[in-house]
Subunit: 363 residues, 2 copies
Amino acid sequence: MIVRRSSRRIHIGPVPIGGGAPIAVQSMTCTDTRDVQATVAQIKDLEAVGCEIIRVAVPNRAAALALPAIKQAIRIPLVADIHFDYRLALLALEGGADALRLNPGNIRHREHVQAVVSAAKERSVPIRIGVNAGSLPPPESPQEAAKSVSERMVDLALGQVRLLESLGFDLIKVSLKAFDVPTTIEAYRLIADRIPYPLHLGITEAGTPSAGIIRSAVGIGTLLYLGIGDTLRVSLTADPREEVRVGWEILKSLGLRQRGVVLVSCPTCGRTETDVISLANEVERRLQGVTEPIKVAVMGCVVNGPGEARDADVGLAAGRGRGAIFREGQVVRTVAEAEYLTALLEEVEKVRRERASRSMASD
Amino acid sequence: MIVRRSSRRIHIGPVPIGGGAPIAVQSMTCTDTRDVQATVAQIKDLEAVGCEIIRVAVPNRAAALALPAIKQAIRIPLVADIHFDYRLALLALEGGADALRLNPGNIRHREHVQAVVSAAKERSVPIRIGVNAGSLPPPESPQEAAKSVSERMVDLALGQVRLLESLGFDLIKVSLKAFDVPTTIEAYRLIADRIPYPLHLGITEAGTPSAGIIRSAVGIGTLLYLGIGDTLRVSLTADPREEVRVGWEILKSLGLRQRGVVLVSCPTCGRTETDVISLANEVERRLQGVTEPIKVAVMGCVVNGPGEARDADVGLAAGRGRGAIFREGQVVRTVAEAEYLTALLEEVEKVRRERASRSMASD
């Protein structure tokens, strides 16, 4: 039902972006980039939870010089985040960065921009132009002041795009992040029809997880539903692994990517005959290491239970003291309440084994 | 930027729904409705966190007979959730329910539906028709089988709407919930233009908070951004207070309602000069009891910090060891790192006091 906006294909390292490629989940380290060991350790943790592209801040020369050692120790592509200083960009490119996040308009001299663009082009390294509402310059004319924040963000981004294009560079990705969700959505919708390049999504400074996850899911989710977005990063004031988890859940919720367990479970109500909350949490915890897609339903009553349980790969529809266990749409057994967890996990294992042997047979 | 779909106004108790009224946050109890004390206690907890309409399951006669005592002890409107049995609906209406959630198509005899409709009409009590993908009947014809789940949900809902209309009843609200987010969005979009009644939003059986919050925010948030929705309930396998909190955060993120603190805080990166994560969490914790709207920014660097801090009611842009504190767009002081928390909370108090005295002066 989601028709994705068509965009030009670029590559960040081996990862294809845009042109119908899977929407990639990104994150950013919060270590000091000069500390290679800490940065590599964090990136490996992020790789393990599904991070597909990693960005590091490069605020100084020592950070830029740490990039080759970081790059060598990790498997996912490395993006160098650079502000103002073109020499850091050149160092990052020499050091093996797979992409730059850089606003060329912030580099004062055109010949310096030219130097960065030439070095990037030579290595087929893309540049992401990242406009942030928080760092918009003040309006310079009454006409500009009359525009919305979204329009001013788009104008700024288009100026930077035209600058790169004027230098014969088109390995471009663009982001337009704001804290305000409608402003962010509006900015992306405005630019989507005006440039052919892939777009990177995010809600910036979204806050701590309790509200930031919700802001990000609403903003990024709405754009993805509208077909906009080729990569995404959830920005949270938290361990960046949480950013990756949330990014995946947003994509899974819209059926755009699959990974690990999708758990259907009812909110419980006065009709519920079993402790669904504990059971659902325990099932989730026991299956959190699973990376192949599988849908599991934990349902506490007979009104919506059987329908959802039948629709999942493995499901439970609990009644009074006993429940029906479904596998791939069929009731495979009924068990007593004490056996719900064991039975569900056993059936999940069966599905996983069957699928693994089927996929081996088809190799 | 969000243009809300126009819908007919109904009232659930004193709460206006549709026709431009504020989008109301609902929840549902998970106590045994027959247990008046437990149910009332849970509803009071929910009122305290901003629940505006509460639904209780009424699966049997004893539950229906508990409604007057519950109703008497609570302040927010009470919705009785009834399946199949028209006598329970009549009892709920006699017992003072402010609305019914009932699918009239599930009541076998037309005269029984007529009895419920007459009793509801007499009391100006609305009926929500709630179609759930998990309980769709199997398709009865090849034409029906060829339709999408969304279309079949809409067909079912329209049939129920026509049934109520044929009995001269129009105090109607409709919901079309599925676990699958795109299916849910599609169903609401399809029905939005075909009926004039307000719509209640939800993603059903969304699961435990870790994924369920994200699914709900994506689904409900997208619909709200598209202008659809007059009430909402976030369904989580968790304490229902969490449903209310998430509902409010979704509405706040889109600027559709305001309540309590909006916290802007950066995700931290290699440029961050202070422990933003702990500070932001502590600020959030200390301000969680505030119900009047206030925007607070906790920013850890000088790239995006000052812009966001200036834009908030109270903000911090932290540098190396010292930070600038902003109030209503102006730097009001710079403080050492150890004083960030105290200074932020003091400025928040100043803003609250000023606003309180301003609002008293204008009374």
